[in-house]
């Protein structure tokens, strides 16, 4: 564990150096990332400007949902998404060979190698709006709620990580499915909407989407004291099982990895 922390510290440094090297790219990405966050808020504010509730969620709750989604997406895209974009390329080009030869865990290598600091900007944007809203609406939240919210957000991050990892692992066997990360970018976007919205779809689709709908909704419910015990069990159950399944699936898929031209 200590060795992995040391490697990760080194990776943080290396990735920071590349940020300094490609400054204009960093500025571009940061601007884009900020614009994405701002337009998300403007969108939800406009959509809910004439209604008091949508699927039983009050307007301010929906905006908090968007703010929390912005924070989580900021962390996720900074730490993981570029790595997941890399997996299909590694499998397709045969470069995964090199990673498998490293004397460290292959899941660690493919998941944590690249860090994109440009997405960091979304975190203060999300937190700022969250605090602004709570101040504006005079909603008092305790430190206990904030800590619980952060903890649940980390668990949500784990679920999102597992979903992306499970999906991109498919490309180890089906190398032609190179656009899986692009699809995931859109599909995980549904996490910012109330779960009740997806109840309108068939039960099969709803069950399929259920893990995604838990990622943000559950931590936000902590802030509004609306979380039930069954929802807590479901949330942690999904996180633990997805963590286990994604690990097993990675190990299983590697057995079928044939490399390129070998």
């Amino acid at each position: 564990m200590k060795a992995y922390l040391k490697i990760y510290k080194m990776l943080l440094k290396i990735n920071f150096s590349s940020l300094v090297m490609y400054r204009s790219n960093f500025i571009n990405s940061t601007l884009s990332s900020m614009a994405w966050a701002v337009f998300n808020f403007v969108g939800i504010i406009i959509l809910t400007s004439r209604v008091s509730t949508v699927f039983g969620w009050k307007r301010e709750e929906l905006i908090v949902l968007t703010a929390s989604f912005t924070i989580l997406t900021g962390i996720f895209h900074m730490l993981f998404s570029k790595n997941f974009e890399r997996i299909p390329k590694l499998a397709n080009s045969g470069d995964l060979d090199r990673i498998l030869l490293y004397p460290i865990d292959s899941q660690f290598s493919v998941s944590f190698w690249e860090i994109h600091y440009s997405h960091l900007i979304r975190i203060p944007v999300g937190i700022g709006i969250l605090f602004y809203l709570f101040g504006l609406l005079k909603i008092s939240i305790t430190w206990q709620q904030i800590i619980m919210f952060m903890f649940f957000l980390v668990v949500g991050l784990i679920i999102q990580y597992c979903i992306w990892f499970l999906a991109t692992t498919i490309t180890v066997r089906l190398t032609r499915l190179s656009n899986i990360p692009e699809v995931l970018y859109s599909v995980t976007g549904i996490a910012r909407y109330p779960r009740e919205l997806f109840r309108q779809l068939t039960d099969y689709v709803f069950i399929f989407l259920l893990p995604l709908t838990l990622i943000i909704v559950t931590p936000v419910k902590v802030l509004f004291n609306q979380l039930t015990l069954s929802e807590i069990f479901l949330f942690f159950g999904v996180a633990i099982s997805f963590l286990y399944i994604s690990r097993k699936f990675w190990k299983y898929s590697l057995r079928y990895y044939t490399s390129a031209s070998s």
Partner: protein
């Protein structure tokens, strides 16, 4: 002409090789559409009319945007930027082929395939969800809608090409493209009709060319514009299209002067 038809056929064949990827792409689009659809459906379940739209008008707008989007914005021109950056553009410059026509052909292939799927998907969704949608029967309005769509297609082609041509001067073309994608998503009217925006934002959106991608053609289709507004809208769109065409061609000529493909 024959060679460009071969390019269309070749692009279709390319998509068929990556069938599963294409299907996955469509799944993504349907998911996005369903989320927007149900969001608006829920919002309208509490009101008869909102922002000057009835539920059927809004749901028609959302469903048809799924067809208009691939028609107007289905493009392969983003590849030009990558071709400039990795030097593979040289392969095309030495061939007896016009790069703009080549990409028009590729776009036609992309648009046609995506539209076929989009129409199929919308038909299934209409059968399943049974929304009350507006079927426009006025020939004049349909003609104006068609013209608005054509202008949108031309405008988007040159807009996307323009972004790619930045590759002549910088290797970092991803940032401007992503930023423009966010602006287009918002000011193009993909999530909602632009006239529901606050007055000041709506005014800004009408000054930009993005409103001609989705909003203007659908607004014309819904029959919410007078003949004068439709004609003036088409006129402004045409000016934008012409302006962007001239600017793109200018950038192309200037870009070729500074283009170098080391090691190619």
């Amino acid at each position: 002409m024959k060679k460009y038809f071969q390019i269309i056929k070749g692009t279709w064949a390319e998509y068929m090789v990556y069938r599963l990827s294409f299907v996955l792409w469509r799944v993504r689009i349907v998911m996005q559409l369903l989320v927007t659809y149900f969001l608006w459906w829920a919002i309208f379940s509490q009101h008869e009319t909102l922002f000057g739209y009835t539920q059927s008008m809004m749901l028609t707008y959302i469903l048809l945007s799924a067809v208009v989007r691939p028609f107007v914005m289905g493009t392969r021109t983003q590849e030009v930027g990558m071709m400039i950056n990795d030097g593979s553009l040289s392969n095309y410059l030495t061939r007896p082929i016009n790069l703009f026509r080549l990409f028009w052909s590729r776009d036609i292939a992309d648009k046609s395939l995506n539209i076929i799927f989009a129409i199929g998907e919308i038909a299934i969704l209409i059968l399943l969800l049974k929304p009350s949608i507006i079927l426009q029967a006025n020939i004049t309005v349909l003609l104006f809608t068609f013209l608005a769509l054509v202008i949108g297609v031309v405008l988007f082609f040159y807009f996307s090409m323009l972004l790619s041509l930045l590759g002549f001067w910088t290797s970092e073309i991803w940032g401007p493209r992503f930023l423009s994608f966010i602006l287009v998503e918002f000011f193009g009217g993909m999530l909602f009709p632009l006239d529901i925006l606050p007055e000041s934002l709506f005014r800004v959106s009408t000054l930009l060319p993005f409103s001609y991608f989705i909003y203007f053609p659908l607004k014309v289709y819904l029959g919410q514009l007078s003949v004068i507004s439709m004609i003036s809208g088409l006129g402004v769109g045409l000016v934008w299209a012409l302006g962007l065409k001239l600017l793109t061609e200018l950038l192309w000529r200037r870009g070729l002067m500074v283009y170098s493909s080391e090691g190619k």
